[in-house]
Structures are given as structure tokens and as C-alpha cells.
Amino acid sequence: MMSFQEIIVYLLLGFAVAFLWKKFFGKKKKDKDCGDGDCGCH
């Protein structure tokens, strides 16, 4: 049987992994169409 402290720790661990995953591998919004001139980038 898991103790109260253990439950909290595993929850925090889950949150931490999910946060980092979302931060570095999460889907980003698509870029707007810059048009033929590529917003003057090139």
C-alpha cells in the first residue's frame, strides 16, 4: 500500500515528465503563410 507521501511524489514526477515533454516535443502552432517573398526573410 502506497503512503500519502509516495502518491504525491509519483504525481509530481508524472507532472514533471509531462511538462518537459510538452515543452520540448509538444506540437507548435503552424506558421502563417508569408507569401511569395517569404516575409523578406531570404
Partner: protein, 700 residues
């Protein structure tokens, strides 16, 4: 009671004090974000104009005209062209500057042609007397068909009047102040007939810009029989600009007078010294010395205080909270991990304080001018100095700042070399390593050795950026023409409010941006360091006891158990597997874990070590991060881990390695290709590895 909110867009050329007006209108009531889908900074503020009227104020990127040549500028045009945009303003406030009114009015006349209610703010009005400038406001208002607010954001003059004008924006004329279509009446009449429901100037902008806008597609216009070739359109655009300047000249001839005899200006004399071909560089170098000395000297007291506080907090949590795994996580994982970032707030704040003061005073533009001569020799433009200097804060906005470099080759080189400049995330790593390996002594009784080392690292980063640019300039076969125009704003005493807001905002984003990552990593690292996969981890106590009884090892039992557990934990296993690669650089597996985890963000390095050493230590003496690192010894040789050879190797590794996943992401975004970030990663990290290897092997 009817309460309404007015949407205001603050528009203007760069360096007209737009941000000061924004700060005066909104105070600290601001939100900074990005425009959806693109990484141009979006600042929104909220202002209470009267008891019943509020305003949301959008601070748009500085632009010289509505003819976009960079991405920053296209944001302004796109917003003003799209009435369906949720940020489309009820009223546009064009901020100009009293000394450069002629150039600033070009943008104003273009916005008036979009038939948006527009207020003209003439800022820096306090400079009128020293410059001998007088304005005929009623005449200017009549000719420009607008209301003018004469403002000095520095002296807090005219802000109330501006608020009143915003409240009464419905009374403003939306009539254009000149007829731009007279440059080619036949063409514009055809355009009007083909699209009777569209605003003529908006159509003209759609045709001549490189940006596609919602609900309006260039193709529809280009398919018409009267469509013109690109070269003709460019010629027409030039004619339009000339016509606008003719109108502005005629208006200012009457409404704007300068009496040189009453002007008391020392700007020219100061410019001669600050941009002098010898003294200019000496002064700049002196200012850099002062900055780095101060970062170390002034911040040591608050840093020691923060370090002690976190150490006390950690042991307090351990002794006062109920014993258990959660208490261990808090005292050994979260508190030391957070301490590893908060300790650097004083140094970061001092760095941004100096940068803000240099920018606000107008000195930074002189530095850009000064450096242009050097930059050109290395294939960069004077404009590259802005990203390279901004890179001292963070490479991400710095790479974005390269957008105002029109020449693609110069821009690409700037993007690729900017991550070499020493960003604020490197500062915590440098600071802790320097304090461990460089003695806190003075050279000639004046210069602190630690400060000098820090300055050397900054110069090393800058030097490497320039050297790489030179190589890239030779390698890259991209043909391009370049020119350099830099604005020299007048000298100003920095406004406390602007400097303070900048320091607070930048420090906040450093702490909260990295803080969340560090907090999450602390939890994971602690877990990986406190748990192991097999019996050796769980039976650590028995194994050590047996070894102590057999006298195969010696030392404090608690420390030996903690160290043994750490070595056999998940993190220990991961660290040991990468140790062969990093051992030639002088790093043990614990440093290896810190190096790998700091790929997320460099400053994570210190927090990671703080967590690992906290988990692996039971000693009550080495409670602060620095003390723990200083006390770390090699288990076999018994020598200190953080000696000069390892310290220098680490400093050089962090000076050159591409240890930032976000920078790679922004390079991909800005170059629209994975090729360039991959080149950046391989070259920078490969170079860092080689240099660190040589340094360690020579110094060990």
C-alpha cells in the same frame, strides 16, 4: 453605467520613445507574448483613461514605413490591413520624435491613407528648447488632418492630453492628408473600378508587399489586364514616397522651425569622442570592464545571502517536515534545484541594468556605428552588432533581432554565429566555476581576477562569433549587396522607470522561463538519483557495512552509503554509461549528467549538480552549492573534482557548445530549414569538445 474599452495601436519608427509612451500609459499593467504563429514580440498593456473608459494598448514593432522589408514590419501592416483581426485598433497612435519629425511623418501619412482614426504624438517635447525648435500645432493639425499630442514621456508632460484625445477618438478625421493616387491616376482609376468595395490604398499595399493578407489575394489583382510588372510597381512606389516627402516638406516649412542660434547642443562634441577611431574603442572597452567587475563585486553579498537561505531552508525542511519520500524530494530535490537558479538573480539583474542604461542613454547606437568598421571585414553588417549584443541576454530574441538585416547572407551568418556570444544562461555556470577555480584577488590592487576572467570569457565568445563569421563568409557562396544605415538618437539620461521595467521583465523571464524547467528536472533527477533498479541499490547499507567490517573501504558510514546508492541509482547508471566520452575532458559521471541535462538550458547545469550532490551527501557542513562542489573529491585519486584543469575545460565547453535546444528551434524557424541548426549543433559542440579536451590535457 456604460463602460467601454478602446483598442489602441501604438505605432512609430524605432527610437522615437514609443516604449516610454507605452510605459507611461500602462504602468506595470503589461503582458508580453508573441504574435500567433510567429516569434515577433507582442506587448499589450491596459490603461484606465477615465472613470468609465479603459484602453487596451498594443505596442507594435518599430517600423519606418508601411513598405515591409522585414518580418517585424509586416506585423504592423498585416494588423492595420485586416479589420477582422481581433486586435484591429479603434484608433492608431503614431509616435514621432520632435527632432526627426520629417522622417517620422512618412509612416503617419501612410496610416492616414488607411482611413483609420489617427492621433499624432510628438514625443521628446522637452528637447524643443535646447534644440531651438518651435512648432505651429494648429497649422500642423490642419494640414495633417489629425489631433496632435505634444508629449515628453521623460518629463511626464502631455500624457493626460493624449488620454483625452484617445477617449474622443470618434471626433478624429479619417480623411487622408494627401492624394497619393495622383502618381498614376489611370492605373489607380482602373484599380478602383475593378475593386469598388475595397479601400484604394489597401489594394495598393497588397499589390506592392510580399505578404499575403486574409481576405485579399494578390493573384486576383494580378490577373487583371491593367496589372503592372514588378519593376514598374517599384518605380511607382518610389514616386509615392517622393510625393509624400514633398507634402511633408511643404507642411514642415511652415509648421516646424529651428533656430540654431538658440540651440545649446553638446551631442556633436560627445559623438566625436565616443565614435573616435581610438578613444571610441578604449571607452567601450572601459565600460565593459566596469560592467564585469561590478557583476562580481556588487552581487556577491546578495548571492551569499540567497545561497545560505536555501541551505537553511533545505535542512529546515528535512528536520521539521514528517519523515518520508516527499520530504526527501522537497529537501534534496526541489529546494537545492531552485536555489541553483535563484542565486543568480543579482548577477542577471546587474547585467540587464547595465545593458538597459546603455540602450536608454543612446550609447548603444554609437557602439553599433563604431563596430560596423570591424564587422564588415568579417562578412557581417554593423546591424549584426545588435543581435550580438542582445545575445548577452539570450540568443533567442537576438536571433530574431537579425530580422532587420536586409541582406540574406549577412543575416544567415549573424544567426549562425550569435549563439557564441555569452548569454545570461551561461553566467550562472561561469560564476560558480570561476568562484571555485579563480582566487578572489585583485590585480594592481584594482581589478578583481574573477571579474577579469568573466570578461575574458565574454570576449572569447564574441571573438569566436567574429572568427566563425569570417570563415562562413568565405565558405558560403551567396551573392548579395549590402548597405548600412544606423540611427543616432540623441543622448538621454536613462529613465528610471524604463530601466526598472526592463530589468524586472528580463529577470522575471529568466527566472520563470528556466525556473519551470529546472523545477521539473529537479523532481526527475531527484527521483532517478534516489531510486535504483536492482539489489545493489536497495542493499547499500548492508554492503557498505560489510565492506567497512572487512576494512576494504574507510570513511563515514552515512556518506559512504549515500555515495554508493547514488552510483547504483538510475542516474548513476546513465552517468556511468556516458563517462567514457567525457572522461578525457576531465569530467566525472555526475558532471556528465549535468552537461547532458543542461542541453535543455545551460543554467540547468548548476541546479542539476546541486540536486545530485544534495542527494549524494549526508554531511551537514557542505550545505551551500559552492561548498558542496568545492568539497567533491574523486573516489579513487582523492583529488578535488573541480580543480583548475576541469574548471577551465568546463568553462571552455560552455563558452562554445550549442547547449540550448530553444536556440536550435529558433534557428530552424528563422532559416526555415533543419540544415542550419544541425550545422550549428555539430560545429559548435564539436569545437567545444576539442578545445576542452586540449585544455584539460594540457592543464591536468
Amino acid at each position: 453605467m456604460n463602460r467601454n474599452t478602446i483598442k489602441v495601436a501604438l505605432i512609430g519608427n524605432p527610437n522615437v520613445g514609443k516604449t516610454s509612451v507605452f510605459n507611461e500609459l500602462t504602468g506595470l499593467n503589461q503582458q508580453v507574448g508573441n504574435y500567433p504563429g510567429i516569434t515577433v514580440e507582442k506587448k499589450v498593456g491596459f490603461a484606465k483613461l477615465s472613470e468609465y473608459t479603459k484602453a487596451t494598448i498594443l505596442d507594435l514593432p518599430g517600423t519606418y514605413s508601411l513598405n515591409a522589408s522585414s518580418m517585424d514590419e509586416s506585423v504592423v501592416i498585416e494588423l492595420l490591413m485586416n479589420k477582422n483581426d481581433k486586435d484591429f485598433p479603434d484608433v492608431a497612435v503614431v509616435v514621432s520624435e520632435v527632432e526627426n519629425l520629417k522622417r517620422n511623418l512618412l509612416l503617419f501619412t501612410q496610416i492616414k491613407d488607411l482611413e483609420i482614426p489617427t492621433i499624432l504624438v510628438i514625443n521628446m517635447a522637452d528637447r524643443m528648447i535646447p534644440k531651438g525648435i518651435s512648432l505651429d500645432i494648429p497649422f500642423l493639425e490642419k494640414e495633417l488632418k489629425t489631433k496632435i499630442a505634444l508629449v515628453s514621456s521623460r518629463k511626464k508632460i502631455g500624457i493626460d492630453n493624449l488620454k483625452q484625445l484617445i477617449i474622443n477618438y470618434k471626433e478624429l478625421s479619417t480623411e487622408p492628408c494627401l492624394n497619393a493616387s495622383s502618381i498614376d491616376p489611370e492605373y489607380f482609376n482602373s484599380l478602383r473600378r475593378a475593386f469598388p468595395n475595397q479601400l484604394l490604398y489597401k489594394l495598393w499595399l497588397v499589390i506592392t508587399q510580399d505578404v499575403n493578407f486574409a481576405n485579399l489575394h494578390r493573384k486576383k489583382i494580378e490577373e487583371n489586364s491593367f496589372a503592372k510588372p514588378k519593376a514598374d510597381l517599384k518605380r511607382l512606389q518610389q514616386k509615392e514616397t517622393i510625393k509624400r516627402y514633398q507634402f511633408i516638406n511643404d507642411t514642415l516649412k511652415v509648421g516646424y522651425k529651428v533656430d540654431k542660434t538658440t540651440a545649446t547642443d553638446f551631442r556633436e562634441r560627445l559623438d566625436r569622442v565616443l565614435t573616435h577611431k581610438i578613444f571610441g574603442y578604449v571607452i567601450f572597452f572601459g565600460i565593459l570592464m566596469l560592467i564585469f567587475q561590478s557583476i562580481f563585486d556588487w552581487s556577491s553579498i546578495p548571492m551569499d545571502f540567497i545561497d545560505e537561505t536555501f541551505a537553511v531552508l533545505s535542512s529546515y525542511a528535512k528536520t521539521h517536515l514528517p519523515a518520508g519520500i516527499l520530504t526527501d524530494l522537497i529537501s534534496e530535490g526541489i529546494i537545492p534545484g531552485l536555489g541553483g537558479i535563484i542565486i543568480f538573480i543579482p548577477q542577471i539583474a546587474f547585467l540587464f541594468l547595465f545593458i538597459s542604461v546603455l540602450e536608454e542613454s543612446g550609447y548603444m547606437s554609437r557602439v553599433v556605428f563604431l563596430m560596423d568598421k570591424i564587422m564588415r571585414k568579417f562578412g557581417l553588417s554593423g546591424k549584426s552588432v545588435v543581435p550580438l549584443i542582445s545575445g548577452t541576454a539570450c540568443a533567442i530574441p537576438a536571433i530574431m533581432a537579425a530580422r532587420n538585416i536586409e541582406n540574406w547572407k549577412e543575416r544567415l551568418i549573424t544567426i549562425l554565429v550569435t549563439p557564441f556570444t555569452t548569454c545570461s544562461a551561461r553566467l550562472p555556470v561561469y560564476a560558480i566555476l570561476i568562484s571555485l577555480i579563480i582566487p578572489d584577488k585583485r590585480v594592481f590592487g584594482l581589478f578583481n581576477m574573477q571579474g577579469l576572467t568573466l570578461m575574458t570569457l565574454y570576449l572569447l565568445g564574441f571573438g569566436m562569433a567574429i572568427f566563425s563569421a569570417y570563415i562562413l563568409n568565405k565558405i558560403l557562396k551567396i551573392k548579395s549587396h549590402s548597405y548600412f544605415v544606423v540611427e543616432m538618437p540623441g543622448y538621454k539620461i536613462p529613465m528610471f522607470k524604463n530601466v526598472a521595467i526592463n530589468v524586472v521583465e528580463k529577470t522575471k523571464s529568466f527566472v520563470f522561463g528556466a525556473g519551470k524547467i529546472i523545477l521539473a528536472l529537479s523532481v526527475i533527477l531527484w527521483f532517478l538519483g534516489s531510486h535504483g533498479p536492482d539489489k545493489t541499490f536497495h542493499d547499500a547499507e548492508n554492503i557498505i557495512e560489510t565492506q567497512l567490517q572487512n576494512k576494504t573501504i574507510s570513511g563515514e558510514k552515512d556518506d559512504l552509503v549515500a555515495s554508493y546508492k547514488l552510483e547504483n541509482s538510475y542516474i548513476g547508471i546513465i552517468g556511468k554509461s556516458i563517462e567514457p566520452v567525457i572522461r578525457p575532458l576531465g569530467y566525472d559521471w555526475k558532471i556528465g549528467i549535468a552537461v547532458v541535462s543542461s542541453f535543455a538550458a545551460r543554467e540547468v547545469f548548476v541546479g542539476t549538480l546541486a540536486t545530485i550532490y544534495s542527494v549524494g551527501s549526508h554531511s551537514d557542513e557542505e550545505t551551500t552549492i559552492k561548498n558542496r562542489m568545492a568539497a567533491e573529491v574523486h573516489p579513487i585519486t582523492g583529488k578535488k573534482i573541480f580543480n583548475v584543469a576541469t574548471g577551465v575545460s568546463l568553462l571552455l565547453f560552455y563558452a562554445f557548445a550549442m547547449q540550448c535546444i530553444s536556440t536550435l528551434a529558433i534557428t530552424k524557424k528563422e532559416t526555415n530549414s533543419w540544415k542550419w541548426p544541425m550545422i550549428q549543433l555539430v560545429f559548435m559542440s564539436g569545437f567545444a569538445y576539442t578545445v576542452s579536451l586540449i585544455a584539460y590535457q594540457l592543464l591536468k
